[in-house]
Amino acid sequence: MNLNIFIMGGYGLYVWSAFLFAFLVCLILFLKTRKSLLKLEKDYKEEVKKLSAEQVETLSKAKISRDILTSQSKVK
């Protein structure tokens, strides 16, 4: 195995740490955003459950609400 690919002429530590830092920040942002989105969708669905049948019917006519409610069921 050609170790020079990883050592990079002695600069491997700099190159790999820069790439790792970039991807770590991206991963953290992605996971944080995803977690908060899933929580919001779950809370929204729970609040909809508390509504009367008439209110739910009115709500499901709106595209956004329908979209949120169906996406939550896919998550579960």
Partner: protein
Amino acid sequence: MLSPGKLFVFLNKISKSIKVILIPLLIVSLIFSLFISPLDYIQGDTVRIMYVHVPSSWIALACFSFIGFFTILNFLFKYKNAFVIYKSLAPIGFSFCLISIVTGSIWGQPTWGTFWAWDARLTSMLILLFFYILFIFSYKYIQDLNTSSKICSIISVLGLINLIIIKYSVDIWSTLHQPSSVNVFGKTSIHNSMLLPLSLMLLVFLVYCALIFLMKYRSEIIRMKRKGLKRL
């Protein structure tokens, strides 16, 4: 202009395609930037840091330009979608500004012999990071929408002035940081063998930004809809 509702449904459809292309594109870009692209005749392998540093800086600057535009739009015309858009863009811009500063600092050690210098470009990028922090804190912790909108507008106008300083800092002052090698309207001094991985990494970051933006936008709309539920 599109209403948040129509935009919400449309953006949700494209987010599925984005998820499919992101990983293969990332793998190809990493192979090009870490293994295939040539060494620099002076900097050697450290030049590979450019493939994360440069696109991150471009995205950090572009995000703040959009934030400035939408904040002013919201302040002047009360365009309701603008508030949702700039709130979704700010964390993305902040993350890429942080990546740009840290990777630049890592690149600085083998190239300049120091992690940090109070050079015009580096300092103005650090100021941009503080503008991002101030901006995020303003819309997060100021409850009154009007006050928050006014403060956000002031921060974004000052930030826009800083963007001009960042752009011309390497031309006006004598800096450690090199002048730009890629120019959209002028001559690009970078070889195609390096321009290709740079463009690929930029594309990966842009696709990633689009994905995060869509998730953030969706979260903001759900937050608004939850408030609407209480009025039913």
